[in-house]
Amino acid sequence: GIQVEQSPPDLILQEGANSTLRCNFSDSVNNLQWFHQNPWGQLINLFYIPSGTKQNGRLSATTVATERYSLLYISSSQTTDSGVYFCAGGNGAGSYQLTFGKGTKLSVIP
């Protein structure tokens, strides 16, 4: 199966700062998603983005499928952005089954 590598593993931001999270894949994917897991364990789907760029408020994501990576941008960070950000991907016949990265733990301090 594919390998998913996320960086950085940990990130501490001052409130209001911007950040970029990266996700690399060992193989091409045709199903790529970003999730946010809040401190209570709830996973929220942020983006379904196998290619291209999408924006949702202060968050945006870009996937360069040919180079097997995706980026998640967080602008003007808020304390409520804290938690763990996961990317996950799938390919081929198993594209509906996602392989998750180890996550980036983000802490936004006031």
Partner: protein, 112 residues
């Protein structure tokens, strides 16, 4: 409101007990999944289903079993719980078209 529900939210049981973790979704999704997640770690796929009477094992070996008798219901059963089963179990679903997963709130299981 369309959603995915997991019960119980928290469960503490003794070794050797049989338990069933419930997962139901009201979105009519055909694809459903169970993931296991230890605290602070990545998610691992343990079971999935592409529709009624379809179940498959995932990448992570698990002693649990699942069933899919109805589209909306995808329960996970542990016949004999052990302390090594202590973890969070997350259920998810997805429609057949393009789109992201929807996750339930999870069940935090502790086996003592």
């Amino acid at each position: 409101e369309a959603d995915i529900y997991q019960t119980p939210r928290y469960l503490v049981i003794g070794t050797g007990k049989k338990i069933t973790l419930e997962c139901s979704q009201t979105m009519g999704h055909d694809k459903m999944y169970w993931y296991q997640q230890d605290p602070g770690m990545e998610l691992h796929l343990i079971h999935y289903s592409y529709g009624v009477n379809s179940t498959e094992k995932g990448d992570l070996s698990s002693e649990s079993t699942v069933s899919r008798i109805r589209t909306e219901h995808f329960p996970l059963t542990l016949e004999s719980a052990r302390p090594s089963h202590t973890s969070q179990y997350l259920c998810a679903s997805r429609d057949r078209g393009a789109g992201g997963y929807t996750f339930g709130s999870g069940t935090r299981l502790t086996v003592v």
